[in-house]
Symmetry: none
Subunit: 209 residues, 4 copies
DNA sequence: GATGAATGAGTCTTCATTCAT
DNA sequence: GATGAATGAAGACTCATTCAT
């Protein structure tokens, strides 16, 4: 994420040493654990620190306050998702539209559902967090990646690629979230995913013929 | 909503009398106000009561605890949305698939975005609320309504209507949420909505030809 | 004290009922007790509440934060001192200069030393409290009272009464503070007080002959 | 200051080497800076160390704990003030009473007001510091210096020089503090200072004729 | 010797909930 | 039935002090 975080939300210090990096990772992991096992209203700084095996004081050395921790956690998460999607887009430049859609849906779907519990937890953690900037940055990054990919399609040309793209992403991202928030049976999820792919492909074909 | 709310979340008493209903409504409205003006972490029982013009004690007469209030609030909200969608479905039985899709997207989109601030506020309030039952009930109700409508289409017949329907709803609901959570410019929102309608229509035509 | 306290330092609610007044008084008294027995760095809200026999929550109902408590405490204290001095001034209008000085020194000295421990405690509590307004208001009040008294002297007339008066008060107030902060033996304190009175009288005679 | 500091308040080691002295001075200066810029409740060891350009660890090498630092700081400050007053007294042995008073008031006044911000800051830092011993030692030192001077006056002889002296010092020290704590306009301050000098001179003349 | 990351007891403050009036 | 003062457990955050590197 290259989004410059609101000043007050940025980590107090960048972990430079090995040990620090380990500590920060432990804190992130602990946050997720607590979120999963206790829920967001029991996500307290003390509990996180305890679970991470560090003292509260140490935690505050890395994150000036709770919000900064959650912000950073979301940032890291979105970063990972973004990277995966970007990689998929990169790898499918010049491919057929069908392959592109397949790749895009798959990449996003997997990124979101592989550790679906974590995803769910993070959605919760984001509430009441001023993370619009984060979301915005993520969206722009995705936009750039998918547009570049779509543009490279040998079998299609889009009149209004911006609109096609924002629609495509909205539909995919939205559907994925909706599906796994409803906790539908895995089989149904898989079915929907296939349908979604088909639907998107038709859309692209209709738009970029 | 016919979902039987988890026992501990149901209101202490059903507002039967006139006065009670007024009070409850005032409390609901106050909750939304506070949510909007102060954010979820400043949503306190005292503040809600104050804004509603009643004492905390009175509030506790109607809602045994804070969660029950939020639960009821969400319930009421989903109820309203569900009703609007149901009505649209009802009114389009026997219509063309195109009309149906248009009606469905419109009904849901409007219900969600007309008071988008409120919607957003409610999403927040729902976090950490054990409202799966609520969501589930809402989903089922929607399912029933839309399936009934789709079945009545003179111009289509669906092999696996359950799958088609769940996909359709997932896509619509998900996209709407995604769009308005990103706070896109109104023009873009309108564009996407049109695209979404088209996309869904193609999907149905492809599935139900 | 008619000084309008900085908004953020004013008590949350004016005690209207009997019970409330009692509670507030208990809190004030407890604060002084803790200040005396534990020192300012052990003056915690919890400790004060405990000593006052109320819960922290209750304390916060009356004082929005610790500073407000200390501010109010000082305000109340200065009010009492001011009243006593004012009364003395009032009662000596038209008296001889000698009687005036005697009365002024006595009134202030007594007000400050009668519960000298408390005075000392309050001086401490005032540190790092934005109480300039308080001090200023007190000073003005004293100024007004003493000037009115001095003006009424039948045996003196002051060319620059403002300067004479501010000097007089600075000397008296300063000396008193200095004396009792040094914790001199009572006998010495009494001696100094007499000397101070004499000194001030000479000063006034020299200035107002 | 020859006052033997309470054992637990004395610096861990006397700065014998050049480097140490420099460091200690930097720490003192930093303390004052922080006190001025941040206020006493933000005067933390870390902040002081940082501003002084040393590590906390190093600071603890010189001062076993925070109190020791503040104690030493006050000690140093009083030492400087004491020295200046002593020098003035020394230089006016055998002078006229008028010259003596003038010199005394001037010396103390200047010492206190030249860096009045610092003085103020130090008063704050002394709160909740067991510095009675310090004050006492300072007082005795001043006593000795002024008594010696007064005794050498060719134009006066005091029956009870101890009382006269303690009164004199109490009045001067107290007034100075009072004046500059009230932050009066400079012009008024200067006026009061002149009045104070006159008043003290009359007093001495009346007492030592 | 110097460093500064880590510690965790201790602070202030909030807020859901109760219950005497 | 309504009120709102009182409660106190629990949370976020600070900071003097230590000690491994």
């Amino acid at each position: 994420m290259t989004a410059t975080a609101p000043r007050h939300l940025s980590p107090r210090k960048r972990p430079r040493q090995q040990r620090a990096a380990v500590t920060v990772d432990a804190i992130f992991e602990a946050t997720i654990q607590v979120l999963l096992s206790e829920g967001i209203h029991r996500l307290t700084t003390t509990r996180v620190a305890e679970r991470a095996g560090v003292s509260v004081g140490t935690m505050y050395q890395y994150f000036p306050h709770k919000q900064a921790l959650l912000y950073a956690l979301n940032e890291r998460y979105l970063d990972i998702v973004a990277e995966r999607v970007e990689r998929a887009c990169q790898q499918h430049r010049g491919a057929t539209t069908a392959a592109m859609v397949e790749a895009l849906v798959t990449a996003y779907w997997k990124a979101k559902t592989e550790r679906s519990e974590v995803t769910r937890a993070l959605y919760r953690s984001a509430v009441e967090l001023d993370n619009e900037a984060l979301i915005e940055a993520f969206a722009e990054r995705m936009d750039a990646a998918t547009i570049a990919m779509l543009r490279s399609a040998p079998d299609a040309h889009y009149a209004d690629i911006a609109l096609v793209n924002v629609t495509l992403l909205s539909v995919i991202f939205g559907t994925v979230r909706n599906v796994f928030e409803r906790n539908l049976p895995l089989q149904v999820q898989a079915d929907i995913r296939r349908q979604l792919t088909t639907m998107c492909l038709s859309y692209l074909e209709a738009s970029g013929g």
